[in-house]
């Protein structure tokens, strides 16, 4: 049953991504100033939002682990962080491609880019720490604390374009600016693609959770076999 739901949501995400790709490439017009390269935003921004949602999930799961001491929350925090890192990498790479075309350089050391990279490194450190600890409850406890600390960098990354004057474009979406700065059709597509990527992330997190569950079962069986 659970597997069927996962496959269903995965298929829905896949179909939505295909449909969005078609609309982005063939239906939506080029942007006036940037030309066709602006289309990368339909992946750059939704990937960033998806990564933020994953980090937020990891934060909530870490707090829940510390209050309830249930290892399933720890597994959720780990799975959400891993998937979040993948989407944050998509965000960084698509941003670099856009920068190469528009700015003429792959990377600019401005606040938003730097913070996005710091955020990635901080969460990568979280996964490194997990790998270095063998005892499951010790690992869960220490990494939950680190996850809470790491979220500070997510908050700073989100606010960086307001706090510093950056080369990175400022906020454009209406929920942040309170104004309609971009075409409503374009804004709608950003959110539709965010939905597709978020569904994909959801499926990836559940697959990772299932793997973790199986790993725990295998470890348990191995321990039992060892005891015999």
């Amino acid at each position: 049953m659970e597997k069927n739901i996962r496959i269903g949501i995965g298929a829905l995400a896949g179909l939505l991504l295909l449909r969005n790709l078609y609309v982005i490439l063939f239906n939506l017009p080029d942007e006036m100033a940037q030309g066709p390269i602006y289309r990368i935003f339909y992946y750059h921004l939704p990937a960033y939002f998806t990564a933020m949602c994953c980090y937020l999930t990891a934060l909530a799961a870490s707090v829940l682990y510390l209050t309830k001491r249930d290892l399933r929350y720890d597994a959720l925090a780990m799975a959400a962080t891993e998937v979040g890192l993948a989407f944050a990498a998509v965000n960084l790479i698509t941003g670099m491609i856009w920068g190469r075309v528009i700015w003429g350089i792959w990377w600019a050391w401005d606040a938003r880019l730097t913070w996005a990279l710091i955020c990635w490194l901080v969460y990568f450190g979280y996964l490194m720490l997990r790998q270095a600890i063998d005892d499951p409850s010790e690992r869960a406890k220490n990494s939950a604390v680190l996850s809470i600390f790491s979220f500070v960098s997510v908050a700073i990354t989100y606010k960086a374009i307001e706090w510093w004057r950056t080369q990175h474009p400022g906020p454009v979406l209406s929920f942040r600016t309170g104004k309609q700065l971009i075409d409503p059709e374009m804004e709608r597509m950003l959110f539709t693609n965010f939905l597709a990527l978020a569904l994909l992330a959801f499926v990836m997190v559940t697959v990772r959770l299932r793997q973790e569950d199986l790993q725990r079962q295998i470890d348990g069986l191995r321990r039992r076999a060892h005891a015999l």
Partner: protein, 222 residues
């Protein structure tokens, strides 16, 4: 005020052995020397990146002190005894942070004149505001570093893991401290737009001190 006793204990044991103090100070001088090969140390532009240079030295030297903060208690299971004693986790953590803070501040104050001589920088006119920046920046470095020292104390790779975790997380404080130190070493006052860096540094210290004190009990209790 038990944390002061913990701090005094740590300082006493460090001043008797001087193991991390000597290593950290000599390491700081070696890095100061190495930087002189990367660029022209007698050039006009040195003042412009003096803050960045100094704080990189402090961050590297600090990691050596912070690594020892909890690791010092590992032989003879001293950490277990400390945790079993009626001292709360927060008091123990605060005591260790204060000890590391004072040690690192001492090293910074020794490095500053050496830096002034090597790189021809006049630092004496702005000594008081400079001291303020050192105190704020070093507190941020030690509070986060001591927490991560507790987090990584039982790892075999702790010497590697501590800087790996600490440096990226420390960037807001380092950025602010570097900027403010550069302004002061260039002979200017902190004011106008630059106050945002001071606010960032104070905000960092407040946020991470609160978070660390709230969560340290969880880390230390086994």
């Amino acid at each position: 005020m038990i944390f002061l006793q913990v701090a005094a204990k740590d300082l006493r044991s460090e001043l008797r052995t001087k193991e991390s103090l000597n290593a950290s100070l000599s390491f700081a001088v070696v890095i100061l020397l190495l930087f002189s090969f990367a660029f022209d140390p007698s050039g006009e532009a040195v003042a412009e990146f003096s803050g960045g240079l100094l704080w990189l030295v402090f961050a590297f030297a600090g990691a050596l002190i912070l690594n020892r903060s909890f690791a010092r208690e590992l032989p003879n299971d001293c950490l277990e005894v400390l945790l079993a004693s009626p001292v709360s986790g927060a008091q123990l953590f605060l005591g260790k942070s204060v000890a590391s803070f004072l040690l690192l501040l001492g090293i910074e104050l020794l490095c500053l004149p050496i830096f002034g001589i090597f790189y021809n920088i006049t630092w004496t006119p702005k000594i008081l505001p400079l001291l303020g920046v050192f105190v704020l920046g070093t507190w941020g470095l030690t509070i986060l570093g001591t927490l991560f020292s507790a987090l990584t104390v039982n790892l075999s790779l702790r010497e590697l893991m501590l800087p790996m975790l600490l440096y990226p997380m420390l960037i807001p404080a380092l950025m602010a401290a570097m900027r403010l130190t550069t302004i002061l070493l260039s002979g200017n006052d902190i004011g106008g737009d630059d106050l945002v860096w001071l606010r960032l540094l104070i905000g960092f210290d407040v946020v991470f001190t609160t978070l660390a004190l709230a969560l340290v009990e969880t880390i230390l209790v086994r």
